[in-house]
Subunit: 439 residues, 2 copies
């Protein structure tokens, strides 16, 4: 590109009608002139050839993505990760914000993903290492999406659970049990105090535990538990499957007694989720397989909060995400970014419930609560409830006892002295992230 070509891909916010643009924050490492690299990044994701041969025209004013902010610093060590790069020259570490005209593709999730995570972004000349750090949408774009149907407030209303975390549990063993004993575990966990007993994200509609049988068994167990505890409960059935089965599995599971549904967001595809959202009669819950494959590394890929925002946009009422603690290998700041992406204002799109999870138990609840500084979260132990030495009823009770202590300002150890389930949980489960650590 000539200097004039490059200038055609730069603008200031004041130059633009911001309602027409989504904004993308990138970090990247480039070889050669950062201004040329940023112009290529804008060009390749929008109108890379902006005129026909022999025709005097320029599609850039309306159709080009524009660099609206760029900061670059020399990085004398070269690229931080070994990688092939076409461009020669000095290496720079850069931050850029690109305004991308959403009229190029419209309010469609697959076309949005193609624009912001596609060839233009990951194959811009001179930029072998790049990470999409964040995304912002203008109101007119958001207004074209449905977003969560129930959202955080709707889920709290369904459970009549206000001013405290929502207590989930992943029924374990996750794989291998037939429906009847599987339902018995769920029943025990509800009696112990769980709000939501859920299928593991790996448990599908499978011959050795068909969804129809499982939902019927769990649905009946849920009704018994609701009567015995006089409290609303949720059976969260995993309907992750081929997209053309989602509506049927929704109907089947809901008719049998499931009153919320789990979908593995990226494996199914966010567009499939949006389709299901239009059909759904119950809250939809996202699980996170595949996301770490492109979000873990600091210098390459897509920050997980971008996916959190997109899951909310696609219509999930709840987003389960990697949580705190070394087991989940996610920086504390990133977990907080994702939690915030669920809760913060997003135009007409309702807030959804964040569920930062991973190796949780009664021993980790306080740490999660202190880090978040709010009770607007879901807590989702697996073995912390279903591997509890006193079984799932005791495991669930230990979680509720931990919350009683936290809410009452009672030290956990002291509360445990009079609550054997809590005591057993604290003894059984290591507490790798009981106290907050620095981000």
């Amino acid at each position: 590109m000539t200097p004039d070509d490059i200038a055609g891909f730069f603008a200031t916010r004041a130059d633009l009608n911001l309602d027409d643009y989504i904004e993308l924050d990138f970090t990247f490492e480039c070889a050669g002139d950062p201004r040329a690299a940023a112009a290529h990044l804008a060009s390749e994701q929008s109108t890379a050839q902006w005129r026909r041969v022999g025709v005097d025209e320029d599609f850039r004013p309306r159709f080009a993505a524009k660099v609206i902010d760029l900061r670059a610093e020399p990085q004398p060590i070269g690229f931080s990760v070994p990688v092939a790069c076409a461009a020669p020259g000095e290496v720079f570490s850069c931050r850029a914000t690109i305004a991308h005209p959403h009229g190029n593709f419209g309010p469609r999730i697959p076309n949005l993903l193609s624009a912001v995570c596609g060839e233009g972004v990951f194959f811009a000349p001179g930029i072998p290492l790049i990470r999409l750090e964040d995304i912002r949408f203008p109101l007119p774009y958001l207004a074209a999406f449905e977003g969560p149907q129930f959202g955080l407030a709707g889920l709290r209303e369904q459970l009549k659970a206000f001013d405290r975390p929502i207590f989930f549990g992943v029924i374990k063993p996750n794989i291998g049990l037939p429906a009847a004993p599987f339902a018995e575990l769920g029943y025990e966990s509800w009696l112990g105090g769980l709000d939501i007993a859920k299928d593991d994200e790996m448990l599908a509609d499978i011959p050795w535990c068909p969804l129809k049988e499982r939902a019927a068994a769990l649905g009946a167990a849920r009704c018994r538990a609701e009567q015995e505890t006089d409290t609303p409960k949720i059976y969260l059935a995993n309907i992750t499957d081929e997209v053309d089965r989602l509506a049927d599995l929704h109907d089947l599971a809901v008719a049998a007694g499931a009153n919320a549904l789990l979908v593995n967001a990226m494996p199914v595809g966010l567009s499939g989720v949006r389709m299901l959202r239009r059909h759904a009669e119950v809250p939809l819950v996202a699980h996170f397989p595949f996301i770490a494959a492109f979000s873990r590394l600091a210098g390459y890929g897509i920050h997980s909060r971008v996916l959190t925002r997109l899951q909310r946009l696609a219509g999930f009422d709840v987003v389960i995400m990697p949580g705190f603690g070394p087991r989940m290998m996610t920086p504390e700041r990133e977990v907080l970014d994702c939690v915030r992406a669920c809760l913060e204002p997003m135009g007409p799109i309702k807030p959804c419930l964040p569920v930062p999870g991973g190796s949780d138990s009664a021993a980790t609840l306080e740490g999660v609560y202190r880090r978040l500084g709010s009770a607007d979260f879901g807590f989702v132990p697996g073995r912390g409830v279903f591997g509890h030495p006193m079984g799932p009823r005791g495991g669930a009770a230990s979680i509720r006892q931990a919350w009683e202590a936290i809410a009452g300002g009672i030290p956990l150890d002291r509360h445990a002295a009079t609550h054997p389930e809590l005591q057993a949980a604290l003894a059984a489960f290591a507490a790798p992230h009981t106290s907050p650590r620095a981000a």
Copy 2:
């Protein structure tokens, strides 16, 4: 895990009925004992808690994934990329093969992805860096999939083009032109010798160039071009959109004259593609947005050949992929791996046409052909045809002239002396990968 627990996740191929397992090749870096890390990797992706509390049972024999091969070497420099890891201890660089029982999830793409690219793989304790390098399916699993409807052979038959590459071109400017002049460019490129004129992967069903108008204009132009050249041609329309619109857009585009359809595989979701495959009357062509976000780095993510295999399994007849040359930042060996994944035997699943692309022109055709050692590929210039100094008809002619020279054993330069379109192409386009380079 105890030594006994760990042993429960190891097996040899001779121990297993291999028809019941998919095989996964991983490379990873772990902290601490590699055998324990590999056992966790198998456990977390299958049955992480294999018995109920207080019940004498073991779900591992039927439901556990098993480590069937493990090689580990100390890596004294520590992790190759800075990353948080729960486990302490010496760092090892490892290769492992895991046999995963597909009965755990069945022949469903979202559940397959959840198993092999999910939480179990990317959050196995002690393994912060891991890459899924390859995947192999047993025949009974493959038999449950439809795969390509037409495949390589069907596409060749449709075009009556045998024993040579298939010549595609991406109509440019890709974004901004209304239907009529856009169709004119396609018409010119067909007359010049393209087999397939295609929409850019970023061009959607958009108000300033609606798919219906575009397909009608291109469909009519295609018929004229077929009559004038007495040769079958293809207009490849991009119907990438929300999954619940795919069938309607298929019908609309095909009725208007599109005779192959482009879908951005990962943005739409492979399951959405499989659904479309069951409905499709024309070949389906995959484009590659999003894949680089998790496949570029050598030490983390998912090797792109895994996605190539899954795209073929989902039913694509053609897979466009990052090709040779520094611009595409993909190691030559990886391109060859992906090409092979399209063509090699895969039980009942037909071969599909590989299209390794990126900044191609008449100057790069010979290099691509020599590297592949076969004419079973598609060649997909964009600006190399539509940015040719003599326009798209000249650009397309330059590609065919380059092939004439290659097929006839004539040096390109000598052929160019009597073929002005070829000469102009060689002069206009840099040839960054004319001659093969080492992988």
